[in-house]
Each structure stands twice: as C-alpha cells, then as structure tokens.
C-alpha cells in the first residue's frame, strides 16, 4: 500500500472508523492509534499527516504533539488537531499544530483539510 498515509489518533473507535472509511474511500492509507501509542506508530510508519484528537485519556493531544515534535523522526510530519470548537479555541493556540479540524466536522471539511497537507493519493 503505497501513496499517502494518514495517522488518525483518537480514543473513539467510531471516529477512527468513520475517518478511515472516508479516507480509504478516497485512496488514502489510514493508520490509527490511541494515546501515546501514536508516537511509536508515527515514528515507525512515518505517515504523511497526523490527525490528532486532543481529548484523550492518559496522554492528551497536547502532550502527544509536543513529543512528536520533539522526535526528529516525526518532527516534520504535519499535525492537524481535532477537537470541539471551544476546546480548539482554548488550547489550539498554545499547542504545536499545523491545522485544526473542529469537531463535529463535515465530510467535506475532512477531505479539504487532509488534501491541504498531503498530495492527493
């Protein structure tokens, strides 16, 4: 499976699955992880883009994004933060992220955001 790969980091399986379905339908490769596991996946698999939910148990998105940036292997991978509107406003500004995808989002938003940071698969 070549082409463009997107890592989806979320603790909600339903969200991961719907994003996976949507992105795979359009030809993206989709990886998924929960919490801190995302760091290892990103390091090992070098996705083209990371969709990161900041509301996760154990390790939140802010910490994950900080560590991704701290790891030279993953530091350059674009990160799109997914969160609720309010939370996005409050925290999004302070964390290392390249873009935002407020929840709840539209399918079109998802495609547009991903397309912005990757070459089309």
């Amino acid at each position: 499976m070549g082409g463009t790969t997107v890592l989806v980091v979320d603790d909600d399986e339903a969200i991961i699955e719907v994003i996976r379905a949507a992105l795979e339908y359009e030809g993206y490769g989709v990886l998924s992880a929960v919490n801190g596991a995302a760091l290892q996946v990103a390091h090992d698999r070098q996705p083209d883009l990371i969709l990161l939910d900041i509301m996760m148990p154990n390790m939140d998105g802010v910490e994950v994004s900080r560590r991704l940036r701290a790891d030279p292997a993953t530091a350059s991978i674009p990160i799109v933060v997914m969160s609720a509107h309010s939370r996005m406003r409050a925290i999004g500004d302070t964390m290392a992220a390249d873009d935002r995808l407020p929840k709840p989002f539209e399918l079109g938003d998802l495609y547009a955001t991903v397309a912005r940071w990757t070459t089309a698969p």
Binding site: A14, I19, S86
Partner: protein
C-alpha cells in the same frame, strides 16, 4: 452811771408836769391826788374810748398796739411804752411795739429793750406775767429786779408801771410804761390800767375768734366745694340756700338753678313731697323732728327724673331767727350695687356650698361642731347643722386618720386626709382657724366626696397595670417572633407553640378564664391551634370539637361573615339560636374575636371570661381587638415565614435542578457530539458514494438507478434530520454553558452586514423554495463581536421565521443603524405572539403553547432565543420582539457600533 446826754426842755417839762401825775416830783401828793382822781377818771374814760376806737379800726393786735401805746402815753402822761407779748412756744416774753414821746432820746434803753426777753417773774414784764397784776415802780434805777436799770438810768428814766393784757383764757402780754419822773402809787391808775388790759385782751380775743371764724368759714366753704357728698341747705320755707358742686353732680342741677327753689320740688319724688312738707312744718311748729340729727335712707330724684337710693343726714343750723337745715346726701346706688353683688355672690357661695358634694364644717378649740353644711351630708344621711354642738371626737373617733388630722389642725397645722366612710371616700382638708393672739380658736374642714374620682383612679391604676402587662406581652410576642425565625423547627408544632404562647399572653392580658386560638384556612376551615386555661380533658375535647365544627350550617356561615367584618361575636350557647355552638367542656358563653390581617380573616380568638364576668368596658374590647390583631400578625408572620422557607427551599431546589439540568445538557451534548459526528460523516460518506454509484457505468440499469435514487433521498432526509439534531446539541451545550456562566464570546472587529448576508445566504441555500428578502445590508457596519455567535443569532431568527411564517409568505430581513448602534430584524407573517408570550420567549425552555410551526416537525426545546438573548446581551446589545397576533412577528436585536 453816765449823765443824761440830753435834758428835757424846761418849757415842755413844766407843761407836762402839770398835767401828768408821774412827773409831779415836788412831792405835792395830796393836791395831785385829788386832781388826779378827778382828772384821772376823765382821762381814763377818754383813754378807754380812744383805745376802743383804735381797736375797732384795727384788724389785729399787732396793727393796733403801736397806736394803743401812743394813746396810753398821751392820756396818762408817760414818756414811753412797750408791749411784751407772751411767746407761748418759748415760755418767755418778747417785746412787740414800742412808743415814746418824740422829744426824748432813749438811745440806750430802747435798743436794750428790743434785744432782751423775760421769763416769768424776771424783770418788770416777767413779774407782771407771773402775777397777773399791775406793778408800779417808783424808780427803776433803784429796783432790785430790773435788769435794764443801767440803760434806763442813762436815759433818765425813773418811774414805771406795767399791767397785763388779759383774756378769759389768761395773759396775752404785758404793757409797760416809763417816765422820767418818779412813779407814784395811784389805785385809780392801777384799776384803769387793769381795765385797759382787759379791754385790749378782749379785743385780741375777739380778733382771734374772728380769725378762727373766718378760717372755719373758709374751710367750710372749701369743704362744701370739695365734698363728695351733696350738701344743701334750706331755709325754714324749704327753699334751697346752699347747693354744693357734689349736689350739682348728684342731682343734675346747677347751683344757680337750685338756689331759691323749694327742696321738695327739686329732689323729693312727688309721692313723698307732702310728707316732707308736713315734717318741716311740724318741726317749725314744735321744734321736734324725727329726721333731724339722724342718718336715714330715702329715695331721691334727679333732674332727669331718675331716682336713686340716698343716705341723708340733716342738721339744723342753730342760729337766731328762722332755722336753716343742712342736708348731707350720699348717692347709695354704687354701694347698693356692690351690696347686691356681694349678696348675690354670698348667696351663690351658699348655694354652692349647700349643693356641692362637699361637707363644710367647723369646730371650736374643743372639737365641738359649730358648723356642718353641704350637700355631701345628704349622702351620709346627716342634716345640715345636725352635728352642731356635738363633739367631733365623739362622732368620728372611729376614723383614725381624721382624728389625727383634727388634732394636728388644732395645733395649727394644715393637713389633708382621705377617709373611707359609709362606703364613700372623702378627701378632707383641715385648716386651723387662727385667733387674734396667734393661737388656734378652731378648725375648718372641707370634705369632698371623691368616691367617683377614686374609682376612676382605681380604674386608671388597673389600666396602668394592664398597659404594663400589655407591654410585657408585646415584648413576649416580639420574642415569639424572634424565636420563630429560627429555622429547622417542625412547622406545625412551631405554629402551635406560637399560638399557645399567644393564648397565654392574651389570657394574662385580658384577665379571662380561658383563651383559645383557632386558625382559619382560606375556606374558613377551622383548625385548633392552642388553648389555655382548660383542663387537659377539656383541651382534648376542645381539639376534637374544633375539628368537628359544623361549618356547613347557616349559623356558622353567618358567624364567619360577621367575624370577617372584624366584629367580635358574643356566643351564648344557652340561646336557642346558638345552641349548635354548644361544647362538651362546659363553656356556655364566650367571645369570638376575629384575627385579621388586613381584611383577611386568618383565625379566631375565643375568649372565655368565666361564668360571672362579661367583658364590658370599651377598653376591654379595644384590648381584645389589639391582641387578636397581634395574634393574627404573629400567625401570619409565621405562615409567611414558612412560605418563605418553602419558597427559599424550592428556589434552591430549582437552582440545583437547573444546575443539574445545565450540567446534564452539557454532558449530554458532548456525549452526543462524537457519535453524531460519526453518524454524520458516515451519512455524508454514504451520500457521496451514492452519488458516485449513480454516476458509474456499472449501475445503469433503470431499476438499479431508481433504487439508488430512493436510497439517496433517504440518506438526504437522514442528513437533514442529522443537522437539526446537531443544532439541538449545539444549543444544549450553549445553554449548559450559559447556565454555568461559561458561554464564550471571542470578539473581533467584523462587519455585521456581511454576517447577516452570509446567514441569509446559508438559509436561502438550505430552504431554496422560501423567499428571504434582505434590505439595508449593503453598507458595512463594523462591530466588535464574535461573528460565529452573531451569525448564530441571525440564523436562529431566520430558522424561527421560516418555521412559523404562514404558507409561502416571504421572510423580511432588515438592517439599520444610527451613530451608536446597529439594528437587525427578521420579520415573518405568521401567528405572532401575545405581549406576554413576547416577553417570555426569551426564557430558557419557554415554548409558545398552541403555535403550530409550519415547517419541519419540531418546535424546539425553547433554547434558541434564550441563547440569542444571552449572546446579544453579552455583546452589549438588546433583543426584542414586536408582534401583532395573527399578523406576524418581528424579532430584532441591536449591537453597539464600533466607533
């Protein structure tokens, strides 16, 4: 002794010596005596006439004396004469007139005589004054009692004679005569001089009497002039001869008018004139008059015809000839008036004393009654003066206070006592009667029946005690009030406790046997609250009785109506019509006092005064009403307190419920959001794939295409519903945040017109078959606002309008602004809102009842407008709605413009 400086001229001396006895120095006594006797009596007679003439022409002795002396010298052949007058004050003789023959010089003797005075027995004048008899001195230079001997010798004087001027009353003075010749004793001369002295004395006396008479006359005239009494004199014919100014004033006639008129015509009333004339005639005839010299009262007539009471004193004037009568008349009118007034006040005083509820009494120093008067006696069954002659100590020995007071009064002390006597109360003032020696001759007392007053006083004391009790009760009530504000007590037991205390206070205050407090519900259902003064058995029965009160009966209803007006009702269960009010605990008669707050009847105070007593005084009624009013207030306060507690509880509960609701909405919203996102994205993916499928060559069979189209429309419908759910969830989260005060507004400079245009465009897209007219959105309106939130407001207004507008009526959206604010409105033509609904639509969860929305299937949860208002108000703007029911509604909001 110096020689005479001058000597007599021989010729003269010779002539005189022949004529005058004293100068017969040749000792030819016999011849001279005979001649003297003959001539002397003639000379003496001539002298008497001469002196009489002088005196008759003179006004006074002083005037007459010089000429008398001259005459004496001439007639009796003396060379000098002097008059010595008795100075009564000094007890001495002073020299008066002095005369001498002009041919002699008496340069030494004359001044000497002027300066000297003589006491009785001293010198020649003093000897005559002392003895009252004439004295003749042969030769004064040889006399042993002649102090002036030296000057007399120097001036050549030898013989002297001195005689007194006498009156019946004594010696007025003495006259002395001197001669240069030796004096010879001559009895005739002595007699003549004595007669002369008497003659002169008589004259003096007469002139004195005359002066006195003149003075008296003058005084009388002046007295008549100034007399206050009218003085008038009539003659024997009864005609007025004198009429003084007071008479003029008294009778109103002038003196001129009165003089000559008959008195009877003038001042005697016609009916008494005959009597007056007869009296006068009788006096003139008999010399006896009943009126003369007496003071009598009669009626007198004035010129103007009026009469007055007069006091008259008549004297007859003792004169030779026909008598005169003088009347002294005093107008008694004023005195009569005063006497009448005095009489009247005395009478009044006596009446007062006789009728006043007092006893006036007096006792002598032995305590024997001398007076006992006054209407106060009647109440005691004592006749006026019945006690007179009896001993106070015997009659009233049983009143110790009075006994003591009487004893003290008899020692001169003023005292006051209050005695209870024969069921009455007397206040007595004791006053000692002082005698002229500073002792006490008796006691006067005034006893006043103060029975009524003392009853009033008792009543006042009772009221005072009650007032004090009332104040205590008020304090106690205040304490009750303060205590009932303590939270955490069981409500009903608290009310009962308060009522019991109130009843207790009322019982104390009213002094009654038992008091019960009954609460009345709004429908007048009675509830027993408390009773005091009943036995436990009775109390139990009372509670049961109140619960079973026959409240459906006409009597009960009528009772409530009367009590509702605030009027207390006397209940007497012995009366047939009130028999149903009878109770099993034996209180037959009681008073029901309404307890009202304002005009609302909240309870009853049942007051039982006991079998004998009935509440009668207005004070009692007022007191009772006051107690009932207070009790009502306390109960009402208690009720309000309870309600407030409940309300506070429910407010807390509501707040808690709201908080939980907000919390729930927040959690629910967030919880729903993730699956919603998942569902939505899945739906959208399904739609997208559906579109792709329809477009693919693999599915070109008609049946497959139709199937795909149907699935597609189902997906579209699901997506539309999905959006609504999404909006609801958004609203739920917003409401939750508003409730928590955490609705976030991120302000930035933005263009309100653009926001409105975008929102309108969005709605046009989502409802392409509806007409949305936008005006006034061409000019940029800069605002400091959260564009997403403002867009949310506009969208909410729009979706509501689309939801409620009639049929296909267009929605109108407008904008306007002035210098400080922009205004945006959305107008629909729908059922509109009433004013109350218009005010309430902004409340959270408020949903207009009965309004059928036209589109879609939901009326919402009543959150949207609440969120709108919160958003706008947090931007410093206002929201509102104007509506005419059945015509439409215009929702608007304003935002401050950026300057």
């Amino acid at each position: 002794v110096p020689a005479p400086r001058k000597t007599m001229p021989a010729g003269h001396t010779g002539g005189m010596a022949a004529a005058l006895t004293p100068r017969d120095r040749n000792g030819a006594g016999g011849r001279r005596k005979a001649r003297q006797s003959e001539r002397g009596s003639q000379e003496q007679l001539a002298l008497q006439y001469s002196v009489a003439g002088i005196l008759a022409a003179a006004d006074s002795v002083t005037d007459a004396m010089p000429r008398v002396l001259e005459t004496v010298c001439d007639h009796l052949d003396w060379d000098a004469a002097a008059y010595w007058a008795v100075d009564a004050d000094g007890g001495i003789l002073r020299r008066g007139a002095f005369r001498q023959r002009p041919e002699f010089d008496l340069d030494l003797f004359r001044p000497m005589s002027r300066e000297i005075t003589f006491a009785a027995g001293e010198g020649l004048p003093g000897r005559v004054w002392a003895t009252g008899s004439p004295v003749l001195i042969r030769d004064v230079t040889e006399d042993t009692n002649f102090p002036r001997a030296a000057p007399a010798a120097a001036d050549g004087l030898r013989g002297a004679v001195c005689f007194p001027v006498t009156t019946g009353a004594g010696i007025l003075g003495v006259i002395e005569c001197f001669s240069h010749a030796i004096g010879e004793l001559d009895k005739d001369l002595v007699r003549a001089l004595t007669a002369l002295g008497a003659q002169i004395g008589q004259f003096v006396e007469r002139t004195r009497a005359e002066a006195a008479r003149r003075e008296t006359e003058a005084r009388r005239a002046s007295m008549l002039e100034t007399a206050l009494d009218a003085v008038l004199t009539i003659d024997h014919l009864g005609c007025v001869v004198e009429f003084n100014p007071a008479a003029e004033r008294t009778f109103g006639y002038s003196r001129e008018e009165a003089l000559g008129r008959e008195l009877a015509d003038l001042i005697i009333p016609p009916e008494q004139r005959a009597q007056h004339r007869a009296g006068l005639a009788r006096y003139l005839a008999t010399g006896k008059g009943s009126l003369i010299g007496r003071r009598l009262e009669m009626v007198a007539l004035r010129a103007d015809g009026s009469t007055f009471p007069a006091e008259v004193a008549i004297t007859s004037v003792p004169l030779a000839g026909p008598p005169l009568f003088t009347g002294y008349i005093r107008d008694l009118s004023e005195r009569r008036r005063i006497e009448a007034a005095l009489g009247a006040s005395e009478e009044r005083l006596r009446t007062i004393v006789a009728h006043a509820p007092v006893v006036l009494f007096a006792v002598d120093r032995d305590g024997i009654f001398t007076l006992s008067e006054g209407a106060g006696l009647t109440a005691l069954g004592i006749r006026p003066d019945e006690h007179v002659g009896q001993s106070y100590f015997t009659l009233y020995g049983h009143l110790p206070d009075s006994m003591a007071a009487m004893r003290r009064a008899l020692t001169g002390e003023h005292t006051m006592t209050v005695d209870h006597f024969q069921g009455l109360v007397f206040e007595t003032r004791w006053m000692p009667l002082p005698d002229t020696d500073g002792g006490v001759k008796g006691v006067i007392g005034v006893s006043t029946d103060i029975t009524v007053r003392s009853r009033i006083e008792e009543e006042r004391l009772r009221l005072e005690q009650r007032t004090r009790a009332a104040l205590d009760a008020l304090l106690a009530m205040a304490e009750v009030m303060a205590r009932t504000s303590d939270a955490g007590e069981d409500a009903l037991s608290s009310v009962r406790d308060v009522a019991r205390r109130l009843a207790d206070l009322a019982r104390t205050l009213l002094g009654c046997r038992s008091v019960a407090v009954i609460a009345l519900a709004d429908d007048n259902t009675p509830a027993p609250l408390a009773c005091v003064g009943l036995s436990p058995d009775q109390a139990e029965q009372w509670h049961k009785r109140i619960d079973d009160w026959p409240r459906g009966t006409p009597l009960f209803k009528a009772l409530m109506v009367r009590l509702g007006t605030g009027e207390p009702v006397h209940v007497d269960t012995a009366r047939p019509e009130q028999r149903e009010m009878a109770n099993p605990f034996g209180i037959e008669r009681y008073l029901l006092v309404p307890m009202r707050v304002g005009t609302a009847l909240v309870g009853l105070l049942s007051v039982d005064y006991g079998p004998d007593d009935t509440p009668g005084s207005p004070g009692d009624a007022a007191l009772m009403e006051g107690v009932a009013g207070l009790a009502a207030l306390v109960l009402e306060r208690e009720r309000l307190q309870r309600e407030r507690e409940e309300a506070r509880g429910s407010a807390i509960a509501l707040r808690e419920a709201n908080r939980r609701m907000d919390e729930f909405l927040g959690i629910a919203g967030h919880e729903m959001r993730t699956p919603l996102t998942s569902i939505k994205v899945s739906l959208q993916l399904a739609q997208r794939r559906m579109v792709r499928l329809r477009e693919s060559e693999n599915a070109q069979t008609g049946e497959a295409v139709r199937g795909l189209i149907e699935v597609g429309s189902l997906l579209d419908r699901a997506a539309a519903q999905m959006r609504r759910i999404e909006r609801l969830v958004d609203d739920m989260v917003d409401v939750s945040r508003i409730g928590a005060g955490r609705l976030e507004i991120r302000r930035q400079r933005c263009d309100l017109a653009a926001i409105v245009r975008n929102s309108v465009d969005e709605q046009r897209l989502s409802a392409p078959d509806r007409q949305i007219l936008l005006t006034g959105a061409d000019t940029a309106l800069p605002v400091d606002a959260d564009p997403d939130r403002i867009a949310q407001v506009v969208t909410n207004y729009l979706t509501n309008a689309l939801k409620y507008a009639y049929g296909e009526r267009p929605i109108q959206v407008g904008m306007a602004s002035d210098v400080v604010a922009a205004r945006v409105w959305v107008r629909d033509e729908g059922p509109g809102l009433t004013a109350e609904e218009g005010a309430r639509v902004w409340e959270v969860f408020y949903r207009v009842v009965g309004v059928e929305h036209r589109h879609g299937s939901s009326v919402g949860l009543g959150m949207g407008l609440h969120i709108c208002r919160t958003i706008v108000e947090q931007h410093g703007g206002r929201v509102g709605v104007e509506s005419v029911p059945s015509v439409g509604a215009t929702f608007w909001f304003t935002l401050p413009l950026m300057s």
